[in-house]
Amino acid sequence: MPLKIGPRTSQIIAYTILLMMTVITVVILFFIILYVFKNGFGQLSIEFLTEKTHDMGKAGGIFPSILGTLFVTVVAIIIATPLGVGSAVYLVEYTRGGLVRRVISFGADCLAGVPSIIFGLFGFIFFVITLRLGWSVLSGGLTLAVMIIPTIIRTTEEAIKAVPRSYREISYSLGGGKLDTILKVVLPTALPGILTGVILGIGRAVGETAAVIFTAGSSLGMPTSLFSSTRTLAVHFYILAREGISMPNAYGTATVLIIIILGVNFVAYRLMHRFIARYY
């Protein structure tokens, strides 16, 4: 005879199980960060952050990788921001449904789902080999730019949509053209939302490994120009950990990496929150 469980009992059982599973999930995710911090914080020092890397990463600091990460990310943002914001403006302000809109949206959605190793393959064959840019800050930055365009498009799109229609109507009624309205009314109003998208893009670029290891390379030298090969923090950490070069330095590098990414994402979240509070 099957055991009959009343609705009240099943409600209590279900609640307990769901609560436990949620707690486990959150604990696991927190545990990862705390575990890295616990082992990595002791490693951090001014020297670790500002010195050159020696002995493949066994000794010295991680300054070249910090610089490399910064350069590659800046290149990616400089290229992806105008493309992403421009696309979003076009989608929201110039299209009303229709084929063009569907094609552009489809492109952005699909691009967002492409795995980073595919971007790595593409960047390697297109930027590094076909365009002869070599393993360089420029190749890495361009590859990351393609990767983060969808993030910026989607976030900017939401931000522009949230600008109240009345703002545009007032601008038109004062004789403003469409472009003037976009540049002087819509974009400034949507700015915090747009910045959120850009910052989320930065977070993705900083944490990326597979797409940059075959485009920016893994040289430990100090990057001096757009054409220097460089090893970003994420790649450096990957090599230290996988080849077992130095566990303490791996933890130290991971700590720096996580602090940067959580910091960046937190700023993006705060901005978005304020923006939402103002316009929704």
Binding site: P7, Q11, A14, L18, M21, T22, T25, V26, L29, I32, V36, P82, L83, G86, S87, Y90, L91, V100, V103, I104, F106, G107, A108, D109, C110, L111, G113, V114, P115, I117, I118, F119, G120, L121, F122, I125, F126, V146, I149, G177, K178, L179, R204, V206, G207, E208, T209, A210, F214, A234, F237, Y238, A241, R242, M247, I258, I261, L262, F266, Y269
Partner: protein, 277 residues
């Protein structure tokens, strides 16, 4: 006049995403597909991978990719869905407002960090508990399952929140408990969003590279059990691209082509499902 020029310029910019996608498709296929025909399908879909000697069998890697992806879903779906249901239906708005952003912040943890956790904690644990090398299908599945959690939680949560409140009110009015409401009304109503979240998580798992390389062991054979080492399509590309040349490099692009086709198919399904609402 100025407005016309601006519109044309913006249209051009707006095509950047789809153009990038086409460019990626073209270059990956142009590098990889010719080898498929040169080597022949029989060779390509065998289990012998020795690309410097003309053997391009990627079957064991395809199986490997599928195994770790299914494993990741087995780990990720129950926990992800439980989290989403708990947050959306069983918790106060204060808890929602704290936990949802925290889980989304955690989505930003780089994949190499997950892989590293696999190396220092999970792999030794599996080795001590079950024997074997520890670097295994099981290790990769668990780590990938954790990695796709934020994706599943976030998208399923949004799907639950999007179900109109009248559904809940109607259900409570006829005396149903919260759990009955979830099972009988909300799960079916939020189904398309949940499925989309799972498909996107699946895409993330099958495309993940660095974390898998670090913990899967990368042995070139079809695993006999979940404690065996396994190699995926993505790990082969990343492990060998650094030194591959000629047909070997082309073979890696062929792996990329197979992966790309799978991912685009998954994306199209996910976009269709979310678009239908």
């Amino acid at each position: 006049m100025k407005d016309k020029i601006a519109e044309k310029a913006l249209l051009f910019i707006a095509l950047s995403a789809i153009l990038s996608l086409l460019l990626i498709t073209f270059f990956i296929f142009q590098q990889g597909i010719p080898l498929l025909f040169k080597a022949g399908f029989g060779n390509f879909f065998s289990t012998h991978w020795s690309p410097t000697r003309g053997q391009f069998g990627i079957l064991s890697m395809i199986v490997g990719s599928l195994m770790v992806t299914i494993g990741a879903l087995i780990v990720g779906i129950p926990f992800g869905l439980a989290c989403a249901i708990f947050l959306a239906e069983f918790s106060s708005s204060a808890i929602q407002k704290t936990l949802k952003p925290i889980i989304e912040l955690l989505a930003g943890i780089p994949s190499v960090v997950y892989g590293f956790m696999g190396i220092v904690i999970l792999v030794p644990f599996i080795r001590q508990t079950f024997g074997g090398p520890g670097f295994s299908v099981l290790a990769a599945s668990i780590i990938l399952g954790i990695m796709i959690l934020p994706t599943i939680v976030s998208i399923s949560y949004d799907a639950f929140v999007a179900v109109p409140n009248t559904y809940r009110e109607g259900s409570f009015a006829v005396g149903a408990t919260k759990w009955q409401t979830v099972v009988m009304l909300l799960l079916p109503a939020a189904r398309s969003g949940i499925v989309a979240g799972i498909i996107l998580g699946m895409g993330r798992a099958i495309g993940e590279t660095m974390a898998v390389i670090m913990i899967a062991g990368n042995a070139l054979k079809i695993p006999g059990s979940i404690f065996d080492s396994v190699r995926t399509l993505t790990s082969t590309i990343a492990l060998e691209l650094g030194y591959a040349a000629g047909d070997h490099r082309a073979a890696l692009f062929a792996c990329g082509s197979v992966l790309f086709i799978i991912i685009i198919a998954l994306n199209i399904v996910a976009i269709r499902i979310t678009g239908r609402k």
